[in-house]
Protein backbone atom coordinates (compact mmCIF):
# COMPACT_ATOMS: atom_id res chain seq x y z
CA UNK A 1 0.00 0.00 0.00
CA UNK A 2 2.64 2.42 1.01
CA UNK A 3 4.71 1.37 -1.92
CA UNK A 4 2.28 2.95 -4.32
CA UNK A 5 4.60 5.80 -5.03
CA UNK A 6 7.46 3.50 -5.82
CA UNK A 7 7.86 2.26 -9.37
CA UNK A 8 6.81 -1.34 -9.83
CA UNK A 9 10.22 -2.55 -10.80
CA UNK A 10 11.80 -0.98 -7.74
CA UNK A 11 9.15 -2.51 -5.53
CA UNK A 12 9.79 -5.87 -7.10
CA UNK A 13 13.51 -5.47 -6.61
CA UNK A 14 12.95 -4.77 -2.95
CA UNK A 15 10.80 -7.81 -2.56
CA UNK A 16 13.47 -9.96 -4.09
CA UNK A 17 16.05 -8.51 -1.75
CA UNK A 18 13.85 -9.25 1.22
CA UNK A 19 13.15 -12.76 0.03
CA UNK A 20 16.85 -13.30 -0.25
CA UNK A 21 17.32 -12.02 3.29
CA UNK A 22 14.59 -14.33 4.54
CA UNK A 23 16.36 -17.32 3.14
CA UNK A 24 19.58 -16.49 5.00
CA UNK A 25 18.10 -14.57 7.87
CA UNK A 26 20.56 -15.42 10.60
CA UNK A 27 23.52 -14.61 8.44
CA UNK A 28 22.09 -11.31 7.39
CA UNK A 29 21.33 -10.38 10.92
CA UNK A 30 24.70 -11.27 12.33
CA UNK A 31 26.89 -10.12 9.49
CA UNK A 32 25.02 -7.46 7.64
CA UNK A 33 22.79 -5.89 10.20
CA UNK A 34 23.43 -2.41 8.88
CA UNK A 35 21.97 -3.42 5.59
CA UNK A 36 18.94 -4.98 7.22
CA UNK A 37 18.44 -1.82 9.19
CA UNK A 38 18.73 0.32 6.12
CA UNK A 39 16.17 -1.78 4.33
CA UNK A 40 13.79 -1.54 7.25
CA UNK A 41 14.18 2.20 7.13
CA UNK A 42 13.34 2.20 3.48
CA UNK A 43 10.17 0.37 4.31
CA UNK A 44 9.45 -3.32 4.22
CA UNK A 45 7.44 -4.34 1.15
CA UNK A 46 3.89 -4.75 2.33
CA UNK A 47 3.60 -8.21 0.88
CA UNK A 48 6.43 -9.37 3.10
CA UNK A 49 5.85 -7.23 6.12
CA UNK A 50 4.12 -9.87 8.15
CA UNK A 51 6.94 -12.30 7.88
CA UNK A 52 9.57 -9.62 8.33
CA UNK A 53 8.04 -8.38 11.58
CA UNK A 54 7.93 -11.89 12.90
CA UNK A 55 11.55 -12.47 12.06
CA UNK A 56 12.71 -9.12 13.35
CA UNK A 57 10.93 -9.56 16.64
CA UNK A 58 12.04 -13.14 17.03
CA UNK A 59 8.48 -14.12 17.63
CA UNK A 60 8.73 -16.76 14.98
CA UNK A 61 11.38 -18.50 17.01
CA UNK A 62 9.29 -18.27 20.14
CA UNK A 63 6.36 -19.79 18.37
CA UNK A 64 8.52 -22.63 17.18
CA UNK A 65 9.83 -23.19 20.67
CA UNK A 66 6.32 -23.19 22.11
CA UNK A 67 4.30 -24.75 19.37
CA UNK A 68 1.13 -25.49 21.29
CA UNK A 69 1.35 -22.96 24.08
CA UNK A 70 -1.12 -20.62 22.49
CA UNK A 71 -3.74 -23.30 21.99
CA UNK A 72 -3.12 -24.55 25.48
CA UNK A 73 -3.74 -21.13 26.96
CA UNK A 74 -6.80 -20.77 24.88
CA UNK A 75 -8.40 -23.72 26.57
CA UNK A 76 -7.99 -22.43 30.09
CA UNK A 77 -10.64 -20.55 32.03
CA UNK A 78 -10.31 -16.84 32.69
CA UNK A 79 -10.24 -14.69 35.76
CA UNK A 80 -13.68 -13.10 36.02
CA UNK A 81 -12.24 -9.96 37.52
CA UNK A 82 -10.26 -9.16 34.43
CA UNK A 83 -12.77 -10.49 32.04
CA UNK A 84 -15.04 -7.83 33.37
CA UNK A 85 -12.53 -5.11 32.62
CA UNK A 86 -11.82 -6.53 29.24
CA UNK A 87 -15.45 -6.62 28.41
CA UNK A 88 -15.81 -3.00 29.35
CA UNK A 89 -13.06 -2.01 27.03
CA UNK A 90 -13.97 -4.26 24.18
CA UNK A 91 -17.32 -2.67 24.18
CA UNK A 92 -15.76 0.66 23.63
CA UNK A 93 -13.14 -0.33 21.21
CA UNK A 94 -14.53 -2.75 18.77
CA UNK A 95 -18.06 -1.69 18.13
CA UNK A 96 -17.73 -2.40 14.47
CA UNK A 97 -15.16 -5.11 14.50
CA UNK A 98 -16.54 -8.18 12.81
CA UNK A 99 -15.01 -10.39 15.44
CA UNK A 100 -17.16 -8.82 18.11
CA UNK A 101 -20.01 -7.40 16.12
CA UNK A 102 -20.98 -10.91 15.21
CA UNK A 103 -22.00 -11.38 18.78
CA UNK A 104 -24.43 -8.57 18.78
CA UNK A 105 -22.12 -5.61 18.88
CA UNK A 106 -22.03 -4.13 22.29
CA UNK A 107 -23.22 -7.11 24.19
CA UNK A 108 -21.16 -9.12 26.58
CA UNK A 109 -18.62 -11.51 25.29
CA UNK A 110 -19.12 -14.85 26.93
CA UNK A 111 -16.45 -16.38 24.78
CA UNK A 112 -13.95 -14.39 26.72
CA UNK A 113 -14.59 -16.65 29.62
CA UNK A 114 -11.54 -18.50 28.75
CA UNK A 115 -8.21 -18.76 30.19
CA UNK A 116 -5.49 -16.76 31.76
CA UNK A 117 -2.65 -18.72 33.04
CA UNK A 118 0.87 -18.10 34.13
CA UNK A 119 3.33 -18.40 31.37
CA UNK A 120 6.68 -19.76 32.34
CA UNK A 121 5.81 -19.22 35.94
CA UNK A 122 6.00 -15.49 35.80
CA UNK A 123 3.57 -14.19 33.35
CA UNK A 124 -0.06 -14.30 32.66
CA UNK A 125 -1.03 -14.42 29.10
CA UNK A 126 -4.34 -13.78 27.57
CA UNK A 127 -6.68 -16.29 26.25
CA UNK A 128 -7.01 -16.07 22.58
CA UNK A 129 -10.32 -15.20 21.17
CA UNK A 130 -11.93 -18.44 20.20
CA UNK A 131 -14.49 -16.89 17.92
CA UNK A 132 -14.02 -15.07 14.69
CA UNK A 133 -12.14 -17.53 12.58
CA UNK A 134 -11.66 -15.10 9.73
CA UNK A 135 -9.84 -12.59 11.87
CA UNK A 136 -9.10 -14.94 14.70
CA UNK A 137 -5.98 -14.38 16.60
CA UNK A 138 -3.10 -16.26 15.40
CA UNK A 139 -0.32 -17.65 17.49
CA UNK A 140 2.01 -15.56 15.37
CA UNK A 141 0.29 -12.45 16.53
CA UNK A 142 0.34 -13.55 20.07
CA UNK A 143 4.06 -14.16 20.17
CA UNK A 144 4.75 -10.93 18.40
CA UNK A 145 2.78 -9.25 21.12
CA UNK A 146 4.69 -11.04 23.82
CA UNK A 147 7.90 -9.75 22.31
CA UNK A 148 6.68 -6.19 22.19
CA UNK A 149 5.59 -6.30 25.79
CA UNK A 150 8.53 -8.16 27.20
CA UNK A 151 11.44 -7.15 25.04
CA UNK A 152 10.73 -4.00 23.14
CA UNK A 153 8.86 -2.03 25.76
CA UNK A 154 9.39 -3.73 29.08
CA UNK A 155 7.44 -2.11 31.85
CA UNK A 156 5.42 0.18 29.63
CA UNK A 157 2.16 -1.40 30.57
CA UNK A 158 2.88 -2.18 34.17
CA UNK A 159 1.02 -0.85 37.14
CA UNK A 160 2.10 2.66 37.95
CA UNK A 161 3.56 3.19 34.51
CA UNK A 162 6.99 3.86 35.91
CA UNK A 163 8.76 2.93 32.73
CA UNK A 164 6.66 5.36 30.74
CA UNK A 165 7.31 8.12 33.23
CA UNK A 166 10.98 7.41 33.22
CA UNK A 167 11.18 7.39 29.46
CA UNK A 168 9.14 10.57 29.50
CA UNK A 169 11.83 12.27 31.54
CA UNK A 170 14.55 10.92 29.30
CA UNK A 171 12.59 12.01 26.28
CA UNK A 172 12.32 15.50 27.65
CA UNK A 173 16.02 15.63 28.35
CA UNK A 174 16.69 14.57 24.79
CA UNK A 175 14.38 17.25 23.53
CA UNK A 176 16.64 19.83 25.01
CA UNK A 177 19.20 18.86 22.43
CA UNK A 178 16.89 18.01 19.59
CA UNK A 179 14.87 21.19 19.83
CA UNK A 180 15.81 23.69 22.51
CA UNK A 181 12.95 25.92 21.46
CA UNK A 182 10.32 23.24 21.98
CA UNK A 183 12.02 22.24 25.21
CA UNK A 184 11.92 25.73 26.64
CA UNK A 185 8.35 26.20 25.58
CA UNK A 186 7.14 23.02 27.26
CA UNK A 187 9.12 23.87 30.32
CA UNK A 188 7.73 27.37 30.46
CA UNK A 189 4.17 26.14 30.51
CA UNK A 190 4.96 23.26 32.82
CA UNK A 191 3.76 20.65 30.39
CA UNK A 192 5.05 17.38 31.72
CA UNK A 193 6.12 14.74 29.23
CA UNK A 194 3.47 12.33 30.45
CA UNK A 195 0.83 14.75 29.27
CA UNK A 196 1.67 14.24 25.64
CA UNK A 197 3.98 11.30 25.22
CA UNK A 198 2.05 8.63 27.10
CA UNK A 199 -0.19 7.84 24.21
CA UNK A 200 2.59 8.18 21.66
CA UNK A 201 4.84 5.73 23.41
CA UNK A 202 2.31 3.24 24.70
CA UNK A 203 0.62 2.91 21.37
CA UNK A 204 3.81 3.29 19.34
CA UNK A 205 2.11 6.13 17.50
CA UNK A 206 -0.66 3.99 16.15
CA UNK A 207 -3.21 6.42 17.52
CA UNK A 208 -1.30 9.41 16.30
CA UNK A 209 0.15 8.96 12.86
CA UNK A 210 -1.52 8.25 9.55
CA UNK A 211 -1.59 4.63 8.60
CA UNK A 212 1.23 4.65 6.07
CA UNK A 213 3.49 6.35 8.59
CA UNK A 214 2.53 3.91 11.33
CA UNK A 215 3.71 1.03 9.19
CA UNK A 216 6.99 2.69 8.36
CA UNK A 217 7.62 3.54 11.98
CA UNK A 218 6.81 0.01 13.04
CA UNK A 219 9.17 -1.35 10.38
CA UNK A 220 11.99 0.57 11.99
CA UNK A 221 10.77 -0.09 15.48
CA UNK A 222 10.83 -3.84 15.03
CA UNK A 223 14.37 -3.60 13.76
CA UNK A 224 15.88 -0.98 16.02
CA UNK A 225 13.72 -0.93 19.07
CA UNK A 226 12.34 1.80 21.24
CA UNK A 227 14.81 4.44 20.14
CA UNK A 228 12.69 4.82 17.05
CA UNK A 229 9.78 5.79 19.26
CA UNK A 230 11.92 8.46 20.89
CA UNK A 231 13.06 9.80 17.58
CA UNK A 232 9.62 9.99 16.08
CA UNK A 233 8.45 11.84 19.16
CA UNK A 234 11.32 14.30 18.94
CA UNK A 235 10.65 14.93 15.28
CA UNK A 236 6.99 15.58 15.98
CA UNK A 237 7.75 18.02 18.75
CA UNK A 238 10.36 19.80 16.74
CA UNK A 239 7.94 20.24 13.90
CA UNK A 240 5.13 21.37 16.14
CA UNK A 241 6.97 23.65 18.52
CA UNK A 242 10.41 24.10 17.09
CA UNK A 243 10.38 27.71 15.95
CA UNK A 244 9.20 31.11 17.07
CA UNK A 245 6.72 31.08 14.27
CA UNK A 246 5.24 27.79 15.36
CA UNK A 247 5.00 28.87 18.94
CA UNK A 248 3.07 31.98 18.12
CA UNK A 249 -0.19 30.10 17.88
CA UNK A 250 0.21 28.24 21.12
CA UNK A 251 0.97 30.65 23.88
CA UNK A 252 -0.36 28.85 26.89
CA UNK A 253 -0.58 25.39 28.27
CA UNK A 254 -3.95 24.56 26.87
CA UNK A 255 -3.14 25.94 23.44
CA UNK A 256 0.05 23.96 23.35
CA UNK A 257 -1.72 20.77 24.30
CA UNK A 258 -4.24 21.43 21.58
CA UNK A 259 -1.45 21.75 19.10
CA UNK A 260 0.11 18.51 20.24
CA UNK A 261 -3.21 16.78 19.87
CA UNK A 262 -3.56 18.17 16.37
CA UNK A 263 -0.09 17.92 15.01
CA UNK A 264 0.75 19.54 11.69
CA UNK A 265 -0.34 17.05 9.05
CA UNK A 266 2.78 17.52 7.04
CA UNK A 267 5.01 16.51 9.92
CA UNK A 268 3.24 13.18 10.14
CA UNK A 269 3.22 12.49 6.46
CA UNK A 270 5.12 9.34 5.63
CA UNK A 271 7.94 10.59 3.45
CA UNK A 272 8.60 13.67 5.48
CA UNK A 273 8.51 11.91 8.80
CA UNK A 274 10.70 9.01 7.80
CA UNK A 275 13.23 11.35 6.26
CA UNK A 276 13.35 13.32 9.48
CA UNK A 277 13.59 10.29 11.70
CA UNK A 278 16.14 8.54 9.62
CA UNK A 279 17.98 11.14 7.62
CA UNK A 280 20.80 10.49 5.27
CA UNK A 281 24.07 11.19 7.12
CA UNK A 282 24.76 14.34 5.16
CA UNK A 283 21.65 16.17 6.21
CA UNK A 284 22.03 15.48 9.86
CA UNK A 285 21.37 18.34 12.08
CA UNK A 286 24.25 19.18 14.30
CA UNK A 287 21.87 19.85 17.09
CA UNK A 288 21.09 16.21 17.28
CA UNK A 289 24.61 15.03 17.70
CA UNK A 290 25.87 13.55 20.88
CA UNK A 291 24.47 11.41 23.57
CA UNK A 292 23.53 13.03 26.78
CA UNK A 293 20.79 11.05 28.33
CA UNK A 294 22.65 9.17 30.97
CA UNK A 295 22.90 6.07 28.92
CA UNK A 296 26.53 6.30 28.07
CA UNK A 297 27.20 2.84 29.35
CA UNK A 298 25.06 1.24 26.83
CA UNK A 299 25.95 3.77 24.26
CA UNK A 300 29.56 2.80 24.51
CA UNK A 301 28.53 -0.69 23.73
CA UNK A 302 26.86 0.34 20.61
CA UNK A 303 29.86 1.19 18.56
CA UNK A 304 28.47 -0.76 15.71
CA UNK A 305 25.47 1.43 15.30
CA UNK A 306 25.27 3.33 12.11
CA UNK A 307 26.37 6.85 11.53
CA UNK A 308 22.89 8.10 11.37
CA UNK A 309 21.94 6.68 14.68
CA UNK A 310 24.99 8.21 16.26
CA UNK A 311 23.71 11.51 15.11
CA UNK A 312 20.82 11.18 17.47
CA UNK A 313 20.91 11.36 21.16
CA UNK A 314 20.98 7.81 22.29
CA UNK A 315 17.45 6.79 22.86
CA UNK A 316 15.85 3.94 24.58
CA UNK A 317 18.47 1.40 25.34
CA UNK A 318 17.39 0.95 28.88
CA UNK A 319 17.36 -2.57 30.10
CA UNK A 320 16.95 -4.09 26.76
CA UNK A 321 19.73 -6.54 26.93
CA UNK A 322 20.16 -9.85 25.31
CA UNK A 323 17.69 -12.36 26.43
CA UNK A 324 18.26 -16.02 26.35
CA UNK A 325 14.68 -17.12 26.26
CA UNK A 326 13.44 -15.03 23.41
CA UNK A 327 16.78 -14.61 21.74
CA UNK A 328 18.38 -11.28 21.01
CA UNK A 329 16.43 -8.81 19.02
CA UNK A 330 18.08 -7.40 15.95
CA UNK A 331 19.55 -4.29 17.46
CA UNK A 332 20.54 -6.19 20.54
CA UNK A 333 22.71 -8.42 18.47
CA UNK A 334 24.91 -5.38 18.17
CA UNK A 335 25.11 -4.99 21.89
CA UNK A 336 27.05 -6.68 24.53
CA UNK A 337 24.80 -7.86 27.31
CA UNK A 338 23.68 -4.84 29.26
CA UNK A 339 22.97 -4.53 32.92
CA UNK A 340 19.43 -5.37 33.75
CA UNK A 341 16.94 -2.60 33.51
CA UNK A 342 16.20 -2.80 37.18
CA UNK A 343 19.61 -1.52 38.03
CA UNK A 344 19.40 1.24 35.55
CA UNK A 345 16.00 2.55 36.24
CA UNK A 346 14.88 1.24 39.54
CA UNK A 347 11.90 -0.58 38.26
CA UNK A 348 11.21 -4.21 38.16
CA UNK A 349 12.52 -6.02 35.18
CA UNK A 350 9.94 -8.66 35.63
CA UNK A 351 8.44 -9.19 32.30
CA UNK A 352 5.74 -6.89 31.28
CA UNK A 353 3.44 -9.80 31.29
CA UNK A 354 4.23 -10.34 34.91
CA UNK A 355 3.71 -6.84 36.13
CA UNK A 356 1.47 -5.39 33.51
CA UNK A 357 -1.78 -3.88 34.37
CA UNK A 358 -4.46 -2.55 32.24
CA UNK A 359 -3.72 0.42 30.13
CA UNK A 360 -3.45 -2.48 27.83
CA UNK A 361 -6.88 -1.92 26.54
CA UNK A 362 -6.07 1.63 25.72
CA UNK A 363 -3.02 0.62 23.87
CA UNK A 364 -4.93 -2.02 22.07
CA UNK A 365 -7.46 0.50 21.16
CA UNK A 366 -4.94 2.42 19.19
CA UNK A 367 -3.67 -0.67 17.61
CA UNK A 368 -7.14 -1.73 16.87
CA UNK A 369 -7.43 1.26 14.68
CA UNK A 370 -4.61 -0.06 12.69
CA UNK A 371 -6.58 -3.19 12.31
CA UNK A 372 -9.67 -1.33 11.37
CA UNK A 373 -7.86 0.28 8.51
CA UNK A 374 -7.20 -3.19 7.29
CA UNK A 375 -4.26 -4.22 5.24
CA UNK A 376 -4.87 -6.84 2.68
CA UNK A 377 -1.39 -8.06 3.14
CA UNK A 378 0.77 -7.48 6.04
CA UNK A 379 0.29 -7.07 9.64
CA UNK A 380 -2.92 -6.97 11.42
CA UNK A 381 -2.64 -5.47 14.78
CA UNK A 382 -5.35 -6.73 16.95
CA UNK A 383 -6.49 -5.76 20.31
CA UNK A 384 -6.17 -8.67 22.56
CA UNK A 385 -8.05 -9.09 25.66
CA UNK A 386 -5.69 -9.79 28.43
CA UNK A 387 -5.77 -9.81 32.14
CA UNK A 388 -4.30 -7.34 34.51
CA UNK A 389 -0.96 -8.77 33.95
CA UNK A 390 -0.83 -8.34 30.30
CA UNK A 391 -1.17 -5.88 27.60
CA UNK A 392 -4.31 -6.09 25.64
CA UNK A 393 -2.88 -6.21 22.27
CA UNK A 394 -2.15 -8.90 19.85
CA UNK A 395 -0.15 -8.45 16.82
CA UNK A 396 -1.25 -10.67 14.14
CA UNK A 397 1.39 -11.07 11.61
CA UNK A 398 0.06 -12.86 8.68
CA UNK A 399 -0.83 -12.09 5.14
CA UNK A 400 -4.41 -13.05 4.71
CA UNK A 401 -5.43 -11.40 1.51
Amino acid sequence: MELCAIPVDVARQRELKWLDMFSHWDKWLSRRFQKVKLRCRKGIPSSLRAKAWQLLSNSKELLEQNPSKFEELERQPGDPKWLDVIEKDLHRQFPFHEMFAARGGHGPFPELDRSWRPLEGKACVPSPEPAGPALGLEPQAFWCLVQICEKYLPGYYSAGLEAIQLDGEIFFALLRRASPMAYRHLKKYKIDPILYMTEWFMCIFSRTLPWASVLRVWDMFFCEGVKIVFRVGLVLLRNALGSVDKLRSCQGMYETMEKLRNLPAQSMQEDFLIQEVSPAPTVLSKGLAGSGCGRETTMAQQGALSRSSQSWPQCGTRGRGRDSAGGALPWQSRLAPTPEGAELQGVSTGSLLAVGAFPSAAVGQGWAKVLARGLRWGIQIVWRAMNAHTIGVGVWARGWG
Binding site: K88, D89, Y157, G160, L161, E162, T198, M257, F358
Partner: protein, 212 residues
Amino acid sequence: MAYAYLFKYIIIGDTGVGKSCLLLQFTDKRFQPVHDLTIGVEFGARMITIDGKQIKLQIWDTAGQESFRSITRSYYRGAAGALLVYDITRRDTFNHLTTWLEDARQHSNSNMVIMLIGNKSDLESRREVKKEEGEAFAREHGLIFMETSAKTASNVEEAFINTAKEIYEKIQEGVFDINNEANGIKIGPQHAASNATLTGNQGGQQAGGGCC
Protein backbone atom coordinates in the same frame (compact mmCIF):
# COMPACT_ATOMS: atom_id res chain seq x y z
CA MET B 1 -12.20 34.92 23.50
CA ALA B 2 -11.73 37.15 26.48
CA TYR B 3 -12.55 35.79 29.88
CA ALA B 4 -12.63 37.09 33.39
CA TYR B 5 -11.45 33.87 34.95
CA LEU B 6 -10.18 30.53 33.87
CA PHE B 7 -10.98 27.55 36.06
CA LYS B 8 -9.20 24.29 35.75
CA TYR B 9 -11.32 21.18 36.26
CA ILE B 10 -10.43 17.57 36.44
CA ILE B 11 -12.77 14.67 35.81
CA ILE B 12 -12.02 11.50 37.72
CA GLY B 13 -13.61 8.17 38.40
CA ASP B 14 -13.49 4.54 37.40
CA THR B 15 -13.04 3.44 33.84
CA GLY B 16 -16.21 3.34 31.79
CA VAL B 17 -18.33 5.60 33.98
CA GLY B 18 -18.67 8.16 31.21
CA LYS B 19 -16.08 10.79 32.00
CA SER B 20 -15.18 11.48 28.41
CA CYS B 21 -18.82 11.41 27.38
CA LEU B 22 -19.67 14.02 29.99
CA LEU B 23 -16.91 16.21 28.73
CA LEU B 24 -17.98 15.82 25.13
CA GLN B 25 -21.58 16.51 25.98
CA PHE B 26 -20.58 19.63 27.81
CA THR B 27 -18.11 21.00 25.28
CA ASP B 28 -19.68 19.81 22.03
CA LYS B 29 -23.25 19.09 23.04
CA ARG B 30 -23.21 15.65 21.57
CA PHE B 31 -23.12 12.09 22.75
CA GLN B 32 -20.77 9.59 21.24
CA PRO B 33 -21.28 6.15 22.72
CA VAL B 34 -18.19 4.80 21.06
CA HIS B 35 -15.08 6.81 21.51
CA ASP B 36 -11.39 6.41 21.99
CA LEU B 37 -10.44 5.08 25.32
CA THR B 38 -8.63 7.81 27.17
CA ILE B 39 -4.93 7.30 27.49
CA GLY B 40 -3.32 9.62 29.96
CA VAL B 41 -5.34 12.78 29.68
CA GLU B 42 -7.63 14.59 27.27
CA PHE B 43 -8.65 18.21 27.31
CA GLY B 44 -11.72 20.23 26.69
CA ALA B 45 -12.68 23.84 27.17
CA ARG B 46 -15.82 25.91 27.18
CA MET B 47 -16.87 29.37 28.07
CA ILE B 48 -19.71 29.90 30.51
CA THR B 49 -21.22 32.97 32.11
CA ILE B 50 -21.64 33.40 35.83
CA ASP B 51 -22.83 36.55 37.42
CA GLY B 52 -22.40 38.29 34.10
CA LYS B 53 -18.79 37.26 33.86
CA GLN B 54 -17.19 35.15 31.20
CA ILE B 55 -15.52 32.17 32.72
CA LYS B 56 -13.46 29.75 30.77
CA LEU B 57 -13.51 26.17 31.97
CA GLN B 58 -10.49 24.15 31.08
CA ILE B 59 -11.30 20.54 31.69
CA TRP B 60 -8.87 17.71 32.08
CA ASP B 61 -10.36 14.35 31.39
CA THR B 62 -8.34 11.52 32.85
CA ALA B 63 -7.98 7.82 32.21
CA GLY B 64 -9.89 5.82 34.77
CA GLN B 65 -7.86 2.71 34.62
CA GLU B 66 -6.06 1.66 37.69
CA SER B 67 -2.62 1.65 36.18
CA PHE B 68 -2.96 5.27 35.15
CA ARG B 69 -3.70 6.24 38.71
CA SER B 70 -0.17 7.27 39.49
CA ILE B 71 -0.02 9.70 36.62
CA THR B 72 -3.56 10.91 37.18
CA ARG B 73 -2.35 12.16 40.53
CA SER B 74 -0.12 14.67 38.88
CA TYR B 75 -3.13 16.17 37.13
CA TYR B 76 -4.84 17.14 40.36
CA ARG B 77 -2.23 19.76 40.85
CA GLY B 78 -3.66 23.14 40.21
CA ALA B 79 -7.28 22.11 39.73
CA ALA B 80 -10.00 24.35 41.13
CA GLY B 81 -12.77 21.84 40.60
CA ALA B 82 -13.15 18.13 40.28
CA LEU B 83 -15.98 16.07 38.93
CA LEU B 84 -15.92 12.72 40.64
CA VAL B 85 -17.99 10.40 38.52
CA TYR B 86 -19.54 6.99 39.14
CA ASP B 87 -21.93 4.92 37.14
CA ILE B 88 -25.33 4.39 38.75
CA THR B 89 -25.61 1.03 36.98
CA ARG B 90 -22.38 -0.29 38.43
CA ARG B 91 -22.15 -0.60 42.16
CA ASP B 92 -18.39 -1.14 42.12
CA THR B 93 -17.80 2.29 40.64
CA PHE B 94 -19.68 3.73 43.60
CA ASN B 95 -17.75 1.61 46.04
CA HIS B 96 -14.49 2.99 44.72
CA LEU B 97 -15.45 6.57 45.42
CA THR B 98 -13.66 6.64 48.74
CA THR B 99 -10.37 5.77 47.12
CA TRP B 100 -10.85 8.43 44.48
CA LEU B 101 -11.74 10.95 47.08
CA GLU B 102 -8.71 10.15 49.17
CA ASP B 103 -6.54 10.54 46.12
CA ALA B 104 -8.15 13.81 45.20
CA ARG B 105 -7.92 15.28 48.67
CA GLN B 106 -4.36 14.20 49.06
CA HIS B 107 -3.05 15.57 45.79
CA SER B 108 -5.09 18.68 45.25
CA ASN B 109 -5.29 21.95 47.03
CA SER B 110 -7.62 21.89 49.98
CA ASN B 111 -10.08 24.35 48.49
CA MET B 112 -10.79 22.30 45.42
CA VAL B 113 -14.53 22.05 44.86
CA ILE B 114 -15.60 18.48 44.31
CA MET B 115 -18.83 17.59 42.58
CA LEU B 116 -20.03 14.02 42.92
CA ILE B 117 -21.76 12.79 39.81
CA GLY B 118 -23.87 9.69 39.37
CA ASN B 119 -23.84 9.29 35.62
CA LYS B 120 -26.06 7.26 33.27
CA SER B 121 -29.28 8.34 34.94
CA ASP B 122 -31.07 7.44 31.72
CA LEU B 123 -30.52 3.78 32.48
CA GLU B 124 -33.06 3.66 35.27
CA SER B 125 -33.91 0.03 34.68
CA ARG B 126 -30.34 -1.02 35.30
CA ARG B 127 -29.80 1.18 38.31
CA GLU B 128 -27.72 -0.38 41.07
CA VAL B 129 -27.03 2.69 43.16
CA LYS B 130 -29.93 4.63 44.61
CA LYS B 131 -29.97 8.35 44.31
CA GLU B 132 -30.24 8.60 48.07
CA GLU B 133 -27.00 6.70 48.45
CA GLY B 134 -25.23 9.22 46.26
CA GLU B 135 -26.74 12.05 48.24
CA ALA B 136 -25.72 10.47 51.51
CA PHE B 137 -22.17 9.97 50.35
CA ALA B 138 -21.97 13.55 49.17
CA ARG B 139 -23.36 14.85 52.43
CA GLU B 140 -20.99 12.80 54.46
CA HIS B 141 -17.97 14.05 52.54
CA GLY B 142 -19.05 17.58 51.91
CA LEU B 143 -19.49 17.30 48.18
CA ILE B 144 -22.07 18.68 45.83
CA PHE B 145 -24.12 15.93 44.24
CA MET B 146 -25.98 15.44 41.03
CA GLU B 147 -27.18 12.65 38.82
CA THR B 148 -26.52 13.19 35.15
CA SER B 149 -26.89 11.53 31.82
CA ALA B 150 -24.23 12.24 29.26
CA LYS B 151 -26.50 10.52 26.78
CA THR B 152 -29.58 12.69 27.20
CA ALA B 153 -27.57 15.69 28.40
CA SER B 154 -29.67 15.77 31.54
CA ASN B 155 -27.97 17.84 34.24
CA VAL B 156 -24.66 17.93 32.38
CA GLU B 157 -24.61 21.69 31.99
CA GLU B 158 -25.74 22.07 35.55
CA ALA B 159 -22.98 19.85 36.87
CA PHE B 160 -20.23 21.86 35.28
CA ILE B 161 -21.83 25.19 35.89
CA ASN B 162 -22.78 24.57 39.50
CA THR B 163 -19.24 23.57 40.21
CA ALA B 164 -18.08 26.78 38.63
CA LYS B 165 -20.57 28.76 40.70
CA GLU B 166 -19.23 27.20 43.84
CA ILE B 167 -15.70 28.11 42.85
CA TYR B 168 -16.82 31.58 41.94
CA GLU B 169 -18.43 32.01 45.34
CA LYS B 170 -15.28 30.89 47.01
CA ILE B 171 -13.41 33.52 45.07
CA GLN B 172 -15.92 36.10 46.19
CA GLU B 173 -15.45 34.98 49.75
CA GLY B 174 -11.75 35.34 49.33
CA VAL B 175 -11.08 31.67 49.98
CA PHE B 176 -9.05 31.25 46.84
CA ASP B 177 -5.93 33.21 46.26
CA ILE B 178 -6.54 33.97 42.64
CA ASN B 179 -3.03 35.14 42.09
CA ASN B 180 -1.72 31.71 42.81
CA GLU B 181 -2.23 29.61 39.75
CA ALA B 182 -1.73 26.49 41.79
CA ASN B 183 -5.32 26.95 42.87
CA GLY B 184 -6.50 26.28 39.36
CA ILE B 185 -7.78 29.77 38.78
CA LYS B 186 -6.38 32.26 36.39
CA ILE B 187 -7.48 35.81 35.85
CA GLY B 188 -8.26 36.70 32.27
CA PRO B 189 -5.59 38.68 30.42
CA GLN B 190 -7.50 41.95 30.24
CA HIS B 191 -8.51 41.68 33.85
CA ALA B 192 -5.18 40.92 35.28
CA ALA B 193 -4.05 44.53 35.44
CA SER B 194 -7.09 45.81 37.26
CA ASN B 195 -6.97 42.91 39.65
CA ALA B 196 -3.36 43.29 40.47
CA THR B 197 -4.03 46.55 42.22
CA LEU B 198 -6.92 45.14 44.14
CA THR B 199 -5.69 41.82 45.34
CA GLY B 200 -3.25 43.49 47.59
CA ASN B 201 -6.14 44.42 49.81
CA GLN B 202 -8.53 41.59 50.05
CA GLY B 203 -8.25 39.03 47.33
CA GLY B 204 -11.29 37.69 45.59
CA GLN B 205 -14.14 39.87 46.55
CA GLN B 206 -12.71 42.98 45.10
CA ALA B 207 -11.19 41.17 42.19
CA GLY B 208 -14.71 40.31 41.16
CA GLY B 209 -15.73 43.90 41.40
CA GLY B 210 -12.73 44.99 39.43
CA CYS B 211 -13.71 43.07 36.36
CA CYS B 212 -15.73 45.38 34.19
